[in-house]
């Protein structure tokens, strides 16, 4: 079997040559050798696409750029996107929230390579048990068998933090949030953060000042975490782009844990299931 990179290029070439899509979103090498998102419009350019261990951005974020018609009368562009297993659940999220239409996207699902090699740094990879993406049109098979985690996320670090005194936790988070420079990179990298006007920047009503001060930073991060409650797919894109290394995945995983505990729901697994905060059950009585 050809390498995963070759398979991605072949799939992209077939989609572009057949006129199925007008753009393929994948990964490429930047001028300094770094991995960056690539937008390929011509079949002749597909050799720019790469696949490597460093391909860590969640490209489904860019689907938002293609969900509207570029000008009056023109059709909504059709897009192919390269996704990993975690990103594929974000595709399901966006489909469910009616941000994109299934007919307008082609999903090139990659079975990620060796988890142990990939996931040294990323919390998302450490406990990943997903081999195939939950949604795909073209599956990119690995050359060698994939090693999956044998245990699901045990939330060991979260459980440890829950043992701390509240003052310790608050001190920890205020220290972490204090480093924030409010660059909003976490928000931009997140496929679930697609509001036209973010609460953090809204002027009317003016929820939060633009001051880069601790109360505003606290407000921004807790607000963002809660907006993603039951919606975060756990791709860790926010943490990966944070220039100040704020452990945002801890917040998201805490909420994922609680959502699973309270509602038995995991984001993106089932595109038909309603997100827990968008629905209710008259029979349930939750601890308040």
């Amino acid at each position: 079997m050809s390498s995963q990179q070759e398979q991605i290029r072949e799939a992209a070439r077939a989609y572009l040559e057949g006129g199925v899509v007008s753009v393929v979103i994948g990964y490429e090498h930047g001028p300094k050798g770094q991995v960056r998102p690539a937008f390929v419009y011509e079949a002749g350019d597909v050799d720019r696409l790469i696949w490597s261990r460093e391909c860590n951005q969640n490209l489904t974020t860019y689907l938002h750029s293609f969900k509207h018609s570029p000008r009056r009368g023109a059709p909504v562009p059709r897009v192919a996107v390269v996704v990993r297993a975690c990103d594929a659940r974000a595709v399901n999220l966006l489909l469910h929230e009616q941000q994109i239409e299934r007919d307008n996207i082609k999903v090139i699902g990659v079975v990620c390579g060796d988890r142990e090699a990939r996931g040294q740094e990323r919390q998302a990879c450490r406990y990943c048990q997903e081999r195939e993406p939950v949604i795909y049109d073209t599956l990119v098979e690995p050359e060698a068998p994939v090693k999956l985690s044998e245990t699901p996320d045990d939330y060991a670090d979260i459980l440890e933090m829950e043992e701390w005194a509240p003052q310790e936790r608050l001190a920890y988070w205020l220290t972490e949030f204090d480093r924030c420079i409010r660059c909003y990179a976490c928000r931009q990298a997140c496929p679930g953060c697609y509001c036209f006007e973010c609460v953090a920047e809204q002027v009317d009503p003016h929820w939060s000042s633009i001051a880069v001060e601790l109360p505003e930073k606290f407000f921004f991060h807790v607000m963002r975490a809660f907006h993603l409650a039951g919606r975060c797919v756990g791709c860790d894109a926010c943490e990966a782009v944070c220039p100040m290394d704020i452990p945002l995945s801890k917040l998201n995983r805490k909420l994922a844990k609680e959502v699973e505990d309270l509602f038995g729901y995991r984001t993106g697994d089932d595109p038909a299931a309603l997100p827990p905060l968008a629905t209710f059950n008259p029979e349930e009585r939750l601890p308040l």
């Binding site: 979260i158 809660f226 008259p282 939750l286 308040l288």
Partner: protein
């Protein structure tokens, strides 16, 4: 310390128009005593209370926040309090994880006939927040402590 003696909790209360606000009104018309620490904001429904409001209150220096709505099944809009219930079950756990003591947020159901219950809830919650002390999210400037009975901060 003098400033600790002077600590009066600032509490923001979001009350649903149809049940809890009427309950508070009943407490008032029946001359039931309850602490003046709670600043009441009337909202159409507990489902209107975005957790953002709670965060905003905490960010702006509230020491405690209470959200009161109709009893389950009694919502004027059929489902608002069920949705609030789901939100606040999560919000409690998130705030606790951030290190805001879960005692600073209180969510309960108060009907229009429960003036006594309203007064009791406010009394208990005020004492609870008083015991927790001032919120650390936006500490008050040194020396600025509210005297008992002072209404505006």
């Amino acid at each position: 310390m003098a400033s600790e003696k002077l600590f009066e909790p600032r509490i923001v209360g979001f009350l649903c128009n149809w049940c809890s606000y009427a309950g508070a009104d009943l407490a008032g018309t029946s001359r039931t005593q309850y602490p003046p620490n709670v600043r009441i904001i009337r909202v159409p429904c507990s489902g209107r209370v975005d957790p953002l409001f709670v965060l905003k209150a905490l960010q702006d220096g509230a020491d405690g926040v209470m959200v009161l709505g109709c009893h389950p099944g009694d919502c004027h809009y059929q489902q608002g309090n069920y949705i609030a219930q789901r939100r606040y079950a999560l919000m409690h756990r998130l705030l606790e994880f951030i290190g805001v003591e879960s005692g600073r947020l209180y969510v309960d159901w108060v009907s229009a006939s429960e003036g006594k219950k309203f007064a009791q809830i406010v009394t208990e919650f005020t004492e609870q927040v008083r015991a927790l002390g001032p919120s650390a999210i936006r500490p008050r400037p040194a020396g600025v402590a509210l005297a008992a009975g002072e209404v505006c901060a």
